[in-house]
């Protein structure tokens, strides 16, 4: 039956394959309501896939994904679209609609899902843009914005409908230190001010650890460890220590699987 109410998202026994490769093998993750939860792990370990599974853009091969009392894999296509109004997602690229300006991008969810009068839509859009510091950019087109600004506009759009759960896909990738600082502050601020649940998927250690209440470290298709950020920093598990301290070689090998080096250079072929 439904998950505990303290958890906004509860992933149980999740298994997901791409072709013959197992991306996740019997993974359990619980995202506590009202908190910022970081999901970390090396590049290519399936963090974004996990986010897409939580948002039901992908269907798991086995397992359950409970969101606010509903198991997503059981929902029909139209129920899913209804369900997704509870989510806001910040995509890695921002994913702004390139044919609409900043104002229309943020107004889009309001226009399609509400019957609000135009003046009210305008006020809401300006308030959301004010929150991310871009009220002045309201007339600009997406291609006139820097990478960091795009992400902030996308964030304003993601919170336009006041979602319950905000998912961030690698919010800090490719951002300069100032933009990173702004995003870190915004994620925490929005979470606390709006009382939402945030899931930050990232491999940027310092930033994610600094805003998260709870951390998961994933790798090899499993949850390697979980706990409060300072517990994770001091973990004894060599795999977690390697990741948290950025050690190049260790349980996660520096070398991609290859035949013996000596044989490769001196062997017959």
């Amino acid at each position: 039956m439904s998950a505990d109410d303290a958890f906004a998202v509860e992933v149980k026994g999740l298994t997901f394959r791409r072709g013959s490769r197992k991306i996740f093998d019997n993974v359990d993750i619980r995202i506590e309501r009202g908190q910022v939860t970081g999901v970390m792990g090396p590049s290519g370990c399936g963090k974004t896939t996990l986010l897409r599974l939580m948002a039901a853009q992908l269907k798991p091969d086995q397992g359950e994904v409970w969101v606010n009392g509903e198991n997503l894999p059981d929902l029909s296509r139209s129920e899913l679209f209804e369900m997704r109004k509870q989510f806001g997602v910040l995509f890695q690229s921002g994913a702004l609609f390139t044919d609409l300006n900043v104002f229309e991008n943020v107004a889009f969810p309001l226009r399609v899902h509400t019957q609000l009068p135009e003046e009210m839509i305008r006020d809401i859009v300006l308030m959301k843009l004010q929150a991310v510091g871009l009220r002045g950019a309201v007339e600009l087109m997406p291609d006139e914005l820097s990478g960091g600004m795009k992400r902030r506009v996308a964030l304003a759009r993601a919170v336009a409908l006041d979602p319950d759960i905000l998912l961030y896909d690698e919010p800090f990738v490719g951002q300069d230190p100032i933009a990173k600082g702004v995003l870190v502050r915004l994620i925490r601020l929005l979470n606390d001010a709006l009382g939402i649940t945030s899931v930050v998927v990232s491999h940027d250690l310092a930033e994610t650890a600094s805003i998260s209440d709870y951390l998961y470290v994933v790798g090899d298709g499993k949850v390697l460890g979980q706990g409060k950020p300072d517990e994770m920093m001091n973990s004894d598990d060599p795999r977690i220590r390697q990741f948290m301290q950025g050690i190049p070689d260790g349980p996660v090998p520096f070398h991609f699987g290859a035949p013996d080096y000596r044989d490769d250079l001196l062997g017959e072929n």
């Binding site: 897409r52 948002a55 853009q57 296509r77 139209s78 679209f81 209804e82 997704r84 109004k85 989510f87 806001g88 997602v89 995509f91 890695q92 690229s93 994913a95 702004l96 609609f97 390139t98 889009f108 969810p109 226009r111 399609v112 899902h113 996308a154 759009r157 409908l161």
Partner: protein, 265 residues
């Protein structure tokens, strides 16, 4: 690269066959979801109007110019053959029948695949690679209804109209060459045409053809965009596939439809 055994080659062939069948299956489910089911949030007539403009109106120039030249060439070629038999007065009939039955629908469909079809594929593929389709889904708007359906309908509606315009302009171009330049009598150019063109046999059959082509070309274009691998290479492959598959489908279907409509069996 390692030498492949015969069994490996057979397996590869089998896999390619399976991939093709799977992709065809996906395209049917895709079409089903686009056309049927409840209209989702955010959809509306204004989206169709916008697409009719970019898919239909913006294709007008290429259709009119090509129609004009093809009509002129038909008249010129027809005249040079028919004049040997003293039948050059029948050139209007020949131009009209060729355009209405064959070249109008077929050439329009080929030009449409190149001009609008490739643009549709590239646009949708690009939206996929920049996660715009995913973000629509996450906003709770079905991209099949919001992005794909208006484009598909715009193609269905505009291509038969473009084919009609193509034929009309072609017949007019033929008249310019035959009547104004080569001196075929005005009355016999139009008179022979009126007498020999049958509304159901020629005009309606031509329209049916262009409706079928419109359906197939637009379907291929939007599906290839939606189904493409979201990388720049994937988009370029999908765009090529759109033009190649759509052109082959049009030419193949044209033969089948012609055999059904005009084959006496």
């Amino acid at each position: 690269m390692a030498h492949k055994s015969l069994i490996d080659r057979v397996a590869l062939l089998g896999r390619a066959g399976l991939d093709t069948v799977q992709s065809m299956g996906r395209s049917v489910i895709f079409l089903w979801n686009v056309l049927l089911g409840r209209r989702g949030a955010g959809t509306g007539f204004h989206l169709l109007v916008k697409q009719l403009y970019s898919v239909g109106v913006l294709s007008l120039a290429i259709i009119i110019v090509s129609g004009l030249f093809i009509g002129m060439v038909l008249a010129l070629q027809g005249y040079s053959i028919l004049v040997d038999f003293g039948s050059e007065q029948a050139v209007g009939q020949m131009v009209a029948l060729t355009l209405l039955r064959e070249l109008g629908p077929v050439v329009t469909a080929l030009l449409f695949a190149g001009r609008a079809g490739s643009a549709l594929t590239a646009e949708i593929g690009n939206m996929k690679s920049t996660e715009q389709l995913s973000s629509l889904e996450m906003i709770g708007v079905d991209p099949l209804k919001y992005i794909i359906a208006p484009r598909l309908w715009a193609g269905f509606i505009s291509m038969p109209l473009l084919a009609a315009i193509f034929s009309v302009v072609g017949i007019w171009g033929g008249a310019m060459v035959a009547v104004d330049w080569l001196g075929v009598y005005d009355g016999s150019y139009w008179g022979n045409m009126i007498n020999s063109v049958d509304f159901y046999n020629d005009v309606v059959n031509g329209v049916i053809k262009s409706v079928v082509f419109a359906f197939v070309v637009t379907w291929i274009a939007v599906f290839q965009g939606y189904d493409c691998e979201p990388t720049s290479e994937g988009i370029s492959r999908a765009t090529t596939r759109t033009v190649v598959y759509a052109s082959l489908a049009v030419l193949g279907l044209d033969f089948i439809l012609t055999a059904l409509m005009f084959g006496d069996f």
